[in-house]
Each structure stands twice: as structure tokens, then as C-alpha cells.
Symmetry: C2
């Protein structure tokens, strides 16, 4: 049992994406906080593996990205639920913090 | 792929806990939003099953509860990571919204 504080991982890198592993060691899920500077794109990708993931917008706004160039508006409190094998990505409009949970971890 | 909006599940019931299943159908995780009115306790419990869970404070403040009457202060942005078999619970001080992710789902 441990407590992670998202306020301690609020750092942004200019023009880039910053990644913080909140849980690296679990056999059951992986939780990662990504902080995207404004305009940064987390490119659409997928893995041919069984499993699901969630992408929760913690702060800021932008778009969830999907297959066929889909752009779904995404703001604080919105959660994308996707299979790991479905194409998924994120594009930041403002500075944007997201929390990604992957089960099982990959 | 679907998008869930936490702003749409912000309802509280006076003196009680309100539960919203955000993902009921996944084989890999379950995501539940609980809204606890001020003073409400989500009692300490555990299950003798393999797996992990996270409890993220979305709004408000209170305490994460653990074994031996442990009370860990919990506020917005704090995430408890626990095994499913470790005793865990939540006590709301103010109105408190939490997001619980359980993998594998139970």
C-alpha cells in the first residue's frame, strides 16, 4: 500500500512530453502520468495484445485521438476507455496532464 | 472505445455513498466513481484475491483507511495503490469524489 501525490509530478518540459511512472512494479496494472506541453501530440498507436486502458484528463484540454484521424474533444474529468489493440493517442491544446492506466501492464 | 465524463456523475446522496460504474464490462479492469457525502465512511475491507486497485481522490478531502485503524490524509490528486487483499477504505471529511480502478475486476 502506498500513496502517490499527483501534485508532485506536475512538471512540464517545453515542447515535449514528460512521463512519470506511478506504479512500475505491479503485475496487474500500470499507472503512468504524462504531462504534455501545449501542442504536443502523443501519437496514435496500438499493440496487438489483450487488455484495456484508460486515459483520464487531469488538467487542461485537447483531444483523444483514434483511428482514421478521429479527434474527440477531451477536457478535465474526461476518461477514454479503449482496448490496447485499438488505435489511441492524445493531442494537447493547452498544457495537459493525463493519467493512463493499463491492465494488464505492458 | 468510449469516453466517460466525470462531470456527469457528480451527484451526491445526503449522508450516503453514491456509486457509478464507469466500466462494467471489461475483462481486465473495473472503474468505479464513488461520491461520498461529508462524514461518510467506505468501511475497511479486503478480498482474498490476487490483484491491485487504485483509489484516486477527484475532489474533496478525507482519509485513506488501512489495517490497524490507519488513517492517511487524502486530498484531490492523491492516489492510494493497494493490493486487493490488503485492508483498504475511505473516510470523507468534506464531500469527496473518488475513482477506483480494480485489476483484474472483481
Amino acid at each position: 500500500m502506498k500513496v502517490v501525490k499527483l501534485e508532485e509530478t506536475s512538471e512540464f518540459n517545453s515542447g515535449k512530453m514528460k512521463r512519470f511512472f506511478l506504479v512500475e512494479d505491479s503485475s496487474y496494472f500500470k499507472i503512468i502520468n504524462f504531462n504534455l506541453d501545449e501542442g504536443v501530440v502523443f501519437p496514435v498507436h496500438s499493440h496487438d495484445l489483450d487488455g484495456d486502458l484508460s486515459i483520464q484528463v487531469l488538467e487542461g484540454e485537447g483531444y483523444f485521438l483514434g483511428e482514421a484521424n478521429a479527434e474527440i474533444p477531451a477536457k478535465q474529468g474526461d476518461i477514454l476507455i479503449s482496448q490496447i489493440r485499438e488505435p489511441h493517442g492524445v493531442k494537447a491544446k493547452t498544457q495537459m496532464r493525463i493519467l493512463v492506466t493499463i491492465a494488464p501492464p505492458i
